[in-house]
Structures are given as structure tokens and as C-alpha cells.
């Protein structure tokens, strides 16, 4: 079972939804309605399933807006700053996220996959 299949299985169980509703492009909070307690359960399940230490703030991009604000305050390029702070995400994905910030919480299933791959590498 690959990482996506594992994540899909975990999310379907925690959120009590059908697996076919979950793709790499699915927003966890915006679309699936995951709440903080669901994310905690997800972090614990990822830790257990993949045997990796999970930092909840990192994997769920909780400091994303704080980092964007810091970059602006320090007159840094936001993209470059985010690349340094969230090194498990690609520049391409971070560009997408920056363009998407106005739309609400940007966390997608594929971000979890990137985090897990980064932790396992």
C-alpha cells in the first residue's frame, strides 16, 4: 500500500467518509471539514502507521500565515521564506499555496504525503 492509499484509509476512517472522495488535491479542512480533534487523530495515526515523529504545526501548515507575515515584515520574498521554513514542500506547491491564501485554509492531502516522504527520507 503506498502513502496515498494509507492516508486515504486513515482519513476515511477518522472522518467517516467514502475513500473515493479523497484525492491528492482534496483540501482537508476546506472540503472535508476536518476539525482540530480530527487533525490530532490524524497525526497520531500517521505517527503509528509510518513510524515517524509528527510535528502537528509542521504537517498541518499551522504557521503558514505567520511565516508569510514575518517575510513581509522583514521585507523578504514570501516564497523564498516559505521554502526555508517549510522545506518539505516544493517551490511549485508553495507558489500554489501563496496564490490560494485568500481562499482559506490551504492544506491538501498531497501536503501530508510530502511531509511523510520528507520524514522518511
Amino acid at each position: 500500500m503506498d502513502i496515498l492509499e494509507n492516508i486515504t484509509e486513515i482519513l476515511a476512517e477518522i472522518l467517516d467518509i467514502e475513500k473515493h472522495n479523497i484525492t491528492p488535491e482534496t483540501y482537508l479542512i476546506r472540503e472535508l471539514g476536518a476539525e482540530s480533534i480530527d487533525l490530532l487523530e490524524l497525526a497520531v495515526a500517521i505517527n503509528s502507521r509510518f513510524n515517524i515523529d509528527v510535528n502537528d504545526d509542521e504537517i498541518f501548515l499551522r504557521k503558514l500565515r505567520q511565516y508569510a507575515t514575518e517575510a513581509k515584515q522583514q521585507n523578504n520574498a514570501v516564497l523564498q521564506y516559505l521554502v526555508e521554513k517549510l522545506s518539505f514542500l516544493s517551490s511549485k506547491r508553495l507558489e500554489e499555496i501563496i496564490a490560494d491564501l485568500e481562499g482559506g485554509l490551504t492544506l491538501k492531502v498531497k501536503d501530508l504525503i510530502s511531509y511523510i516522504e520528507w520524514k522518511k527520507s
Binding site: I37, L40, E41, A43, V44, A45, N47, S48
Partner: protein
């Protein structure tokens, strides 16, 4: 009594109450895992638990030493069903005369550190979707004597953390209870009673101190399946001390 689970971490495992409790736990078929913060504590546990070989284990955990949390949890693994928390540093001082450095370190050790232990143990328990945690507070949390302000503040803050954990994870099978004993004929309580004599005991409506055995049996009950309905609350066990003026 019936218990769902077997392995119990006992923080502050080298105190008299923890030793007494461990004996009762072993009799009830539970496996206590006692923590100690120094060599003296380790030796005290060894000496007092010698009649229970292989029926318990003990690990180093020092308030404030964050590495010791991971080290302990690596050794205990994911097999943790219960936790009983006696851990509490001693810092008695009038507020206005307290050493400034000690103020910061005391709260870091007794609140922040405890919370980190709780966070990590709760995440382990979440994997099994069950767990029970009992915090041993004190009637001094709400009725401190002069000089006990820091102790009371740390106890009340810790009670709040336990309460919220039970609120947040009760639906996931993880529940908490705080027990607030009054004067106990053990450890610091015994010393206090010896120093202040009958005057102290006369304030207690039952006219005696609570015994170690009573506290241990109460804790065992709150760990049992019969007490599953208690969650995110504080239970007074003070002989009526705090009920009246």
C-alpha cells in the same frame, strides 16, 4: 474491581503513597511502572518493592529534564493503559520573598514539563483509543497556607490541564480525574501534622488524617471500570476539611 488495561505509569513513583499504591495494584493484577528522579529514588523503590520481583518496573524521569520523557517512553513502549501522577517539586516560600529564578524554574518543571508528559502519553493512548489518567492534587490547591502559593498555583494549573485533556479526548476513550486529598498521614503531610500537632487535625471534621491505604484504594477505584463515568473533574478526599469555615 475490573480494569480495562494493565500497565500503569506512576509519576513520582518513589514517594510513600506511590509505593503503597503499587502494592495494591499488583494485588489487583496491574503492572506499575514507577518513575524516579535520582539514584536515591531508584534505591528507595528497589528496597520497598523487593517483595514484588518482576511485577513492576521503574524508569528515570526528572521534572524539567525533557530528554528523560522520550527516554522513558522509548522503554515503556506503546503499552500504557493508565497514568497516576504524584510528581511535584517542593518550593515553599512567601510570594514576596521568593527567588526569581526559582519562580520560573518551578513553574516550568511542575506545569510545562508535566504538560509535555501528558501530551506524549495521551498520544500513545490515542492509538489504543483508551486510557485513564489520575492527577493527585491536594486540598492545599484551594486552601493553601502562607508559603504554599507556588505549590497551589502549580497544582491548580495542572488540574486545569488534566481537566481539559478529559474534555478534549473523552470521546476518544481517554479520561481524567483529579483527586484532592487533604492531610495524609504520609510524606510531607505527615511532617506537617507532626510539626503543627492536634491543631491541624482538629480542623478536619473526621478528626484524623487520611491514611495512605485509603488514598491508594480510592485511586485504584478511580482507575477501575466502575469509575468510568468520572471524567474531567476534581474529587475531594479531605475528611470534610474544605467543606466548612
Amino acid at each position: 474491581m475490573k480494569f480495562t488495561g494493565n500497565r500503569v505509569i506512576i509519576l513520582g513513583g518513589s514517594c510513600d503513597l506511590a509505593i503503597t499504591l503499587s502494592g495494591f495494584m499488583i494485588e489487583a493484577g496491574l503492572f506499575p511502572i514507577l518513575t524516579y528522579r535520582n539514584e536515591k529514588g531508584r534505591e528507595y523503590i528497589l528496597k520497598n518493592m523487593e517483595s514484588f520481583p518482576k511485577k513492576y518496573s521503574s524508569f528515570y524521569l526528572e521534572l524539567g529534564n525533557r530528554d528523560s520523557i522520550d527516554s522513558m517512553l522509548q522503554q515503556t513502549g506503546d503499552e500504557i493503559d493508565f497514568m497516576v501522577d504524584f510528581a511535584q517539586g517542593n518550593f515553599e516560600s512567601l510570594i514576596a520573598s521568593a527567588d526569581s529564578e526559582s519562580i520560573y524554574s518551578y513553574f516550568a518543571e511542575n506545569i510545562s514539563f508535566r504538560t509535555e508528559v501528558l501530551k506524549k502519553v495521551a498520544r500513545i493512548m490515542m492509538k489504543k483509543k483508551r486510557g485513564r489518567l489520575i492527577f493527585i492534587s491536594s486540598s492545599a490547591a484551594t486552601r493553601p497556607n502562607p508559603g504554599q502559593g507556588f505549590y497551589a498555583a502549580a497544582k491548580l494549573a495542572s488540574e486545569a490541564i488534566y481537566k481539559n485533556l478529559g474534555l478534549e479526548l473523552g470521546g476518544h476513550g481517554i479520561t481524567t480525574v483529579t483527586l484532592r486529598p487533604g492531610y495524609i498521614d504520609s510524606g510531607r503531610g505527615r511532617k506537617f501534622i507532626q510539626t503543627h500537632g492536634k491543631e491541624v487535625i482538629n480542623k478536619v471534621p473526621i478528626k484524623r488524617a487520611i491514611t495512605k491505604k485509603e488514598v491508594a484504594e480510592a485511586i485504584l477505584f478511580y482507575l477501575s471500570d466502575s469509575a468510568a463515568g468520572f471524567n474531567a473533574n476534581e474529587i475531594l478526599m479531605d475528611g470534610g476539611l474544605t467543606a466548612g469555615k
